[in-house]
Each structure stands twice: as C-alpha cells, then as structure tokens.
C-alpha cells in the first residue's frame, strides 16, 4: 500500500514525504494514520470541521480543568467557609468574613494595628522582596548576558558557571548559604582573616532581607541570563554593522539597537521572575525560617503556616489569603503585558 492509495492522505506534499520514508517506518506510519482517520472522520462528520479544534484541545482542557481550574474554584469556596473541618460539606459558609478579617486594619501601613498582622507583614515583606529581587535579576542577568554574548575567553565555561546554580535545589542553595552566613560561617571566617569583625548576618533585620534577596538572585539569574542571551543572539548582526557605518558608539548600539530588540525578551524575563518572586517560599523557609522574627516571612509562608502548620488549621483564612495573592499576581501580570504591548507597538 502506498501513501497515495490512502483516502486520509490527499495532500501531495504529504504523500511525497511519506513515500520517502524507509520501508519499515512507512507502513507503521500509514497504519497509524489510517487508524486515526477512522476515529476522527466520523467525529468530524458529526460536529463539522469548524468545531474539530475543540476536540483536539479537549485533553489539555480536561487536564487544566481537573488540576488547575477545579482546585482554584475549590479554593474560592474554601475562602468563603470557616471552621477547621477538612471537607467542604462540613464547613460552615461565612461569606466574605475571612476577607474582612484579613483587611481589618486601623492603619494599613502599621501591621501591628491589623487583626491579621502577620498577613500584612507578609505583604510588606513580599513587596520589598519582589521589588529588589526582580530588579536585581533583570539588571544582573542583562549585564551577564551582555558580557557572555561577547567574544570573551572561556565563554562556554562562564556560561556554564552562571547557569550552574539553577540546577541546584532551592533547599541545597539555602543550606549552602546558611553555612556561609552563619555566625561561625565562611563569610565571617574570611572577614576575621582580614582583621574584620564577625557579624550575625541573618539576625540583623536589614541584612537578613538583603541576603535573602542576594541568595535568590544568585540562584536564579543563570536561568534569566540564558533567556536574555538567546534574545541577544537573535538580533541580526547586520543592524550593528549598519549602526557602525552610521558612526554609532557602543552605548548608542546598546540604546538604539540592542534594547529595543531585546525588549520582548525582557518582558518575558520580567513576568517570569515576578511570578516566581511572589511565589518564593522554600529557599527562604530553609535559610531564615522567615526570621528574624517575621522579617523575611513572605505571603506564601503566611498561607502555609495558617493553613497547615498550626495545630488549629484555618483553611478558610489561608484560602482567602491565597486568593488575595492570586489576584495581586494577575493584576501585576496584566499590567506588565499591557505595558509590553504598548512598548511593542511603539
């Protein structure tokens, strides 16, 4: 049987392509095409060719529905319930009470004046962490990508070095840095070697946030550097040749050629790093436990502690907090996409 004999294969180029295959692969593939055709043709006759697209995305939609949409809806329902029971049917409906509890504040800038002070501490810490971490990641990833895009010595080696921390588990990263930053750690040993004084890096409230951001940037920037590097390499070299002929210097190259063409990639980096920063949990949990006190406790840790770690588990409050987190993230992402679109149009 040849490909042209099959009713399912009518396209000439497909027939040509199939006929070029080796004698073992071709019959197997033809058998497969025939089997699929026998299943799909009756369906197509029934629903019409316009609606076949839905049929093809159905498996993915099912997976999305079961594992993403349904839990989201369930979470929404939990946020409207109280008590400590696990199953939804055992939980009393309380409407928006959990949200009211979260937003019960005399002064939003003073977490101690809020009923759920830890939630607001989590919000403020998260905002601070996200601003510094995302800025740090974008800035250092860009610089690193620009350097690694040049013809430097051992370029392949340095590309691997910067990417290596991405391969490590966040827990391992946190443990390594805990070992470096603890009072009897490597950093203090080096400082003392040069006559400096040892410090309790993670116990100082300001240093703790700095190190949490630093470790996170160190661990993740390799991934974003790789994305930006790909973006840089997709810029046609002819544009640099043209700008050179026009007498542009290095800064003008960067300002008027590199940055405008890299902007779509930068937005990808910005959105991805922002989402990841807001979701940050494991690394900080191991490095500082959210401390000192609650100085590095982010919103996700509040959600985890309230819902799972405490003896009396407040699933409703935890779900409400996660809704607030999700909506904030959605707004931020939409804002970024809008800005990105405007920038592309410009």
């Amino acid at each position: 049987m040849t490909a042209s004999e099959l009713p399912a294969i009518k396209n000439r180029s497909s027939v040509r392509l199939l006929n070029q295959l080796d004698p073992i692969t071709r019959p197997v593939l033809l058998l497969l095409v025939t089997a699929v055709d026998r299943i799909l043709t009756p369906i197509q006759r029934r629903v019409g060719i316009d609606k076949m697209g839905y049929f093809f995305v159905l498996p993915n939609l099912l997976i999305f529905g079961i594992f993403v949409l349904f839990p989201m809806l369930l979470n929404f329902y939990y946020a409207m319930t109280g008590g400590t029971k696990l199953f939804p049917e055992d939980r009393p409906f309380v409407g928006l009470d959990n949200f009211a509890t979260l937003f019960d504040c005399e002064n939003f800038s003073q977490p101690n004046s809020c009923q759920e002070d830890l939630f607001w501490r989590g919000i403020f810490n998260t905002i601070q962490f996200v601003v510094f971490q995302v800025s740090g990641i974008v800035l250092f990833s860009l610089i690193t990508a620009l350097v690694l895009n040049r013809n430097i010595i051992a370029r392949g080696f340095f590309r691997s070095v910067f990417f290596y921390p991405v391969l490590l588990s966040p827990v391992v990263v946190a443990l390594i840095w805990k070992w470096i930053l603890q009072h009897e750690g490597v950093l203090n040993a080096i400082l003392e070697l040069f006559g400096g004084e040892s410090m309790r890096w993670l116990l100082d409230t300001n240093w703790a946030m700095f190190w949490v951001v630093f470790v996170s940037v160190w661990a993740l920037m390799g991934f974003y550097t790789l994305i930006l590097l790909a973006g840089l390499q997709s810029i046609p070299p002819e544009l640099y040749e043209a700008s050179s002929i026009d007498g542009a210097n290095t800064w003008q190259d960067f300002r008027f050629v590199t940055m405008p063409l890299l902007m779509p990639t930068m937005f990808v980096v910005l959105v991805l790093s922002l989402i990841r920063a807001v979701q940050m949990f494991d690394q900080i949990f191991v490095l500082t436990g959210g401390g000192p006190g609650t100085r590095t406790q982010l919103m996700v840790q509040y959600i985890y502690t309230t819902g799972f770690s405490n003896q009396i588990q407040l699933f409703g409050l935890s779900a409400a907090a996660s809704m607030v987190l999700g909506v904030s993230l959605l707004i931020l992402t939409l804002l970024q996409l809008r800005l990105g679109n405007q920038s592309s149009l410009a």
Binding site: L86, D117, G289, G291, T294, S309, I312, L314
Partner: protein, 363 residues
C-alpha cells in the same frame, strides 16, 4: 518519617480518613477525635487502666473518661542539662550543688559567668518550643487557664517569665539565633554536644542522644528544674502509640498494641531507648536501662525524680487538647518580641488573640 510530617501531614491524612492503622503521636489530645477505642477488642482492658490510667486522659476527648486509644511509649519531662566540665574549668560552683531551689536568675548568672570565663559562645539555650517555655512560665506563676478553664496567658507569672526570656535573648544570655532564626521547633543539641553551650533547657528524651553523641567526652548532667514563685516545675509530655479509628482491622490493631504494651516488651523498649516509661508496673519495678554510662543513668534518675515536683497546672496544660495552639502562639509571638517587632505586652496580647481566634474557629 520526619517529626514535621507527624505534626503537619498526619492531621490532614486523618481528617481525610486516609490515616494509617496505628500512629506514634505527640499531639496527644489534639488528634483524639481520630483515635480508635480499642476497649472491646482488648483481652484485658483492666491491664491498660491499671498501668496507663493517669495518661489515658491525655488521649481522650473532653467528657470521655473510658476509651482506651493507645499507650504512652515514653513519658518525657522537660528540664535543663548542664556541662559540668565547663563549670569546673571556669572554677565556678554549680548552683544546684549548693541549693535545692535554684532560681532561673541564678542559673542565668552562673551560666553567663562560665561562658565569659571560658569564652564559650552560648551561656544558655532553650528548645524553640512553647512547651519548653511553659515549665519556666508556670514556675514563675503563670496559670495558663482562667476560672472557666479557658486558656489564658494574661497574668503576671507568664509576663514575668516572658520579659525575662526576651531580655536574655537581647543581652546574649540565650542563644541569640535559635529562636529568632527558625520556623517551628529548633534544638541546640549540636551546640551542647560541641561544648559551646553551658546550660540547655530541653528534656528527658535527649538522654539517649547525648549518650551516643557525647558519651563521656565531658560531664553532662541533668539538674532539677529552676524555681520561681510558682514552683520548680518542668512540663510532662511524651509520645503515644495510638490506634486510628478509620482502620479496617481494629481487632488486629488491638492485638499488636497488646503485644507492644505488654510489660516485658515496653520494659525492653525503655531500657534500650533510655526513655522513661509511662507504665505503672515498670515504674514500680524500675527499668534496668541498657547503658554503662553513669552520666546517662544519673540524668534519667534526676528526670524520674522530677515527676514529683511537676505542678498540677503543668499536667492540666499537657492534658488540654488544644495546648499546641497555646504553645505555638507563645513561641512565635515571643520570637517577634525578641527582634523588636512587638513589645512583650503586645506579644502577650497577640498570643491570647491567636489562641482565642483559633479556639473560636474550632468551635
């Protein structure tokens, strides 16, 4: 299985009806609604009442005075360990050698003096646990329950120890990083075993570990719980092996439990693990602990002797089903006071608020 999994995952499994047949738990009363009452499956329920009677209430729901859900695999008592060798090297007398009722302040002063003399980094440390803090608080006069039996921390005794404890963290008497830089439980075993710590408030379950980790490398010793206006008490506690109500094999669970709870088996378990048995028969006959280390035997002797000094409040608090709500809030809010996020008074008010909110949700 890690301890955190027992604390955090097991309750969810049990609530979902997917728990194991049996479980070893420390949140004794908090999970009581999921336990199996084995009474009808036991060949001799009286044996359980006679030998485990005082501790069965810890595993029962309020109002239940008859179910037999399991047995205590170990009784624990919180109390301090000291590194006697450091005291000797510093030429400073061990306070408990000179008095039967040493206060917390006296221990703090002596520990600071030893640490200063020998340049030891940590004079004192206490496990990061509200349960561990409760003993000293009760000794300072904390009542933990109001007249209606509702948990409260709004009294002068609790405030007194809270203020002292926070102050010790600020002036470097207590290990400065352990409480502020951890989430959940944290211990100072490593520091104590490395002779970097003079005085360590922990509990009897450490004896086995210290026997292995330290052995006789230096003289470690258990000393009686420090005293205050409310007594010289630690906290009782322990772990229990319980049957789970959702099991499909209650009779088999009861049979296995009967074997494990028999005096011979439990006696051998206590002897090998160096745990204090919570079994009347074994308490009467004594356990020949399986160690040649005199330091370990002495420590266990001190802990057993402490049972008589425990205050009734300590037993009531241990028996209270939602004690972890009080312990966890105490631990987390006092930590905030240590780093200046809250004052001690604000922290105490927050502890009370957290407990009240949680109990209101519990219903």
């Amino acid at each position: 299985m890690p301890y955190r999994a027992i604390l955090e995952n097991l309750p969810l499994d049990l609530a979902a009806g997917e728990g194991p047949d049996m479980a070893r738990v420390t949140d004794l009363g908090g999970l009581a609604e999921y336990y199996l009452d084995m009474t009808s499956h036991l060949s001799d329920p009286d044996y359980w009442e006679e030998n485990f009677g005082p501790f069965l209430n810890w595993k029962r729901l309020p109002g239940d005075d008859s179910s037999i859900p399991g047995f205590m695999t170990q009784l624990t008592i919180t109390g301090p360990f000291i590194n006697r060798t450091l005291f000797e090297q510093a030429g400073i007398d061990v306070p408990s050698d000179m008095s039967d009722s040493v206060t917390w302040d006296e221990w703090a002063e002596a520990s600071r003096a030893v640490a200063e003399a020998l340049e030891i980094p940590y004079p004192m440390a206490m496990d990061r646990s509200g349960h561990r803090f409760a003993g000293p608080a009760i000794s300072s006069g904390a009542m933990y329950f109001d007249d209606m039996g509702h948990p409260t921390v709004m009294d002068e005794g609790f405030r007194d120890m809270a203020e002292r404890f926070v102050g010790w963290h600020l002036d470097g008497t207590m290990h400065p990083e352990m409480w502020p830089l951890s989430e959940g439980y944290a211990g100072a075993n490593e520091e104590f075993a490395n002779a970097e710590l003079v005085f360590y408030m922990s509990g009897s379950w450490q004896v086995g570990q210290f026997s292995e980790q330290i052995g006789d490398a230096f003289d470690w010793q258990t000393v009686p719980n420090p005293c205050g206006p409310g007594g010289c008490t630690g906290m009782p506690g322990g772990a229990a092996l319980v049957g789970i109500g959702s099991t499909e094999h209650p009779a088999e669970v009861a049979r296995v439990m009967e074997y494990l709870a028999s005096q011979d088996v439990l006696g051998e378990f206590a002897a090998r693990t160096l745990f204090i048995p919570a079994h009347a028969g074994l308490s009467a006959s004594g356990v020949d602990f399986d160690t040649d280390l005199q330091l370990a035997k002495d420590s266990l002797g001190v802990f057993v002797g402490q049972v008589g000094t425990l205050e009734q409040t300590a037993f009531d608090l241990q028996a209270y089903a939602f004690n972890r709500a009080v312990f966890d809030a105490s631990r987390d809010r006092l930590t905030q006071a240590m780093v200046g996020e809250l004052t001690v008074d604000e922290a105490i008010a927050r502890i009370q608020d957290d407990v009240d909110t949680a109990l209101a949700e519990q219903g």
